[in-house]
């Protein structure tokens, strides 16, 4: 499905852009953080699976290359426009009514902490139709249930085309459970992001 009028209109109206990524998503995420302009106009939240005890490697690399102001989420940070937030390793990130983050160290979901499902679900509850969720390459099914919730709350949901992803399992799960309203290639996703 290529971008259409409905997609473009809802993209423009959205305030919160969430990315879920796991194995094989690093390259596309790195390109995203390098290309998104400083005054992007939305709040961007990255949920990326990674190992604990590998301190701040991704965070540092991303922050050094990002044109948007970027920060690793700390407890009770307020969601701001034109800021890119990255969910810290070893915590789940939740979004609270009132527009701030809270963290949680409870059990891993799909062996993952941060879990994409957890953040997507709470984003759906608080921001519903103001959300855009994009699910990228990954080797498990984290993110599919959360994305379904965003879709049901009126948010715009996009899965990376599985054939175009290094690890197809994650976007494929979101397509299978009906969570993905649009399925786009990397290039199509970039067209949208840099509109």
């Amino acid at each position: 499905m290529a971008p259409d009028k409905n997609l473009l209109e809802r993209w423009q109206a959205a305030e919160i852009l969430l990315f879920g990524g796991s194995a094989g998503s690093f390259k596309i995420l790195f390109r995203i953080i390098k290309e998104l302009p400083g005054a992007f106009g939305k709040t961007v939240i990255l949920i990326i699976h990674r190992k604990k005890n590998f301190f701040s490697e991704i965070e540092k690399l991303f922050a050094e290359n990002s044109r948007m102001y970027m920060r690793e989420i700390e407890d009770k940070d307020i969601l701001k426009k034109n800021t890119m937030y990255i969910a810290p390793a070893n915590y789940h990130t939740l979004i609270e009514e009132g527009g701030y983050f809270s963290l949680d160290v409870s059990e891993a979901v799909w062996y993952s902490k941060p879990s994409i499902d957890v953040t997507f679900e709470s984003a759906a509850e608080v921001y519903g139709d103001k959300c855009v969720a994009i699910l990228l390459s990954g080797a498990n099914q984290d993110g599919a249930d959360g994305m379904l919730k965003i879709r049901k709350s009126g948010g715009l949901t996009i899965a990376q085309q599985p054939e175009d992803a290094e690890m197809p399992e994650m976007p494929r799960s979101a397509i299978k459970n009906g969570a993905a309203e649009y399925v786009l290639t990397q290039d199509e996703i970039f067209k949208l992001l840099l509109l």
Binding site: E74, D75, L94, I95, E96, S102, V105, S106, E107
Partner: protein, 276 residues
């Protein structure tokens, strides 16, 4: 999750908070709502409850509440969680603690005791084993029972061994345990320097004076106003120049407390009490 099970509205969360306070005397009003709601939904799914079932047992089944309390609070913990924190304590706080005849440490929200024993190991390795005492407190009697036993599954100990290596302490984590089949028991010598008891950060008061307080990954479950109330409790519980350790993603935001606590380690959120 499309059935009535596991679905709960914000208003219903407030209704449950009200019931729990009136019937059981625990006040969850200052807890962050998204996390609390997730825990409630989890309990409902585990028990195959709808909202009204949960409400019913919370009012009528006193025995249910202990288990509920255990599930509603997050008890996921590790030994030497965030190894960089222990490294920082070792280099920045331990030298100060060693100047005392006797150093008292409070681990607030200690759950099943992993942090208390990690701290006990750290003190022992620093040669302060006989000169330090660690108090572990939690609101939950069940987890404290586990903490007192000091027996952990061997599988967990294996995963904590990696954390231990990162802290830079010498030897291996298994040096501090007696291993029997698939269980590992903390050495008695470490247990002798610990005491576990019930304490509710929200409703209970100062109970001793400490040289160091560690309260990590507890504030994340509390709203800012509640965090500030507990900071006041910690401030009053610390000796002059005593240390406060928060979780690595928990910072002191309130201006009032920024002047009462000096930042010792920005990254690991270690603070020192200043003023009187």
């Amino acid at each position: 999750m499309d059935t009535a099970q596991g679905i709960i509205s914000q208003a219903q969360v407030f209704e449950l908070i009200d019931i729990i306070k009136k019937v059981h005397g625990f006040d969850f009003a200052g807890y962050t709502k998204a996390s609390l709601k997730r825990r409630l939904i989890r309990i409902m799914l585990l028990n195959k409850f709808e909202f009204y079932d949960l409400k019913h047992v919370l009012i009528n089944d006193a025995a249910f509440f202990q288990g509920f309390l255990e599930e509603i609070t997050v008890n996921v913990t590790e030994m030497f969680r965030d190894p960089a924190f222990y490294k920082a304590v070792n280099t920045q706080v331990v030298p100060y603690l060693s100047t005392y005849q006797h150093a008292k440490i409070w681990s607030a929200g200690c759950s099943t005791g992993e942090e208390v024993y990690s701290m006990a190991i750290l003190m022992k390795e620093a040669g302060l084993g006989k000169k330090s005492f660690i108090y572990g407190t939690d609101i939950n009697t069940e987890v404290l029972r586990e903490a007192r036993k000091g027996i952990y599954s061997l599988r967990n100990i294996k995963s904590y061994a990696e954390n231990y290596q990162y802290t830079g302490l010498k030897g291996s984590i298994t040096d501090h345990f007696t291993i029997l089949y698939d269980a590992a028991s903390v050495h008695n010598e470490l247990k002798q320097n610990t005491l576990f008891s019930v304490h509710n950060l929200i409703s209970d008061n100062v109970f001793n004076e400490f040289q160091m307080i560690s309260c990590r990954n507890v504030f994340i479950y509390f709203e800012t106003f509640l965090q500030e109330r507990i900071l006041e409790l910690f401030y009053k519980s610390l000796c002059p120049l005593g240390y406060l350790c928060l979780g690595s993603k928990e910072t002191i935001r309130s201006d009032a407390f920024k002047t009462k606590f000096k930042v010792i380690n920005q990254k690991e959120n270690i603070y020192q009490k200043v003023g009187t």
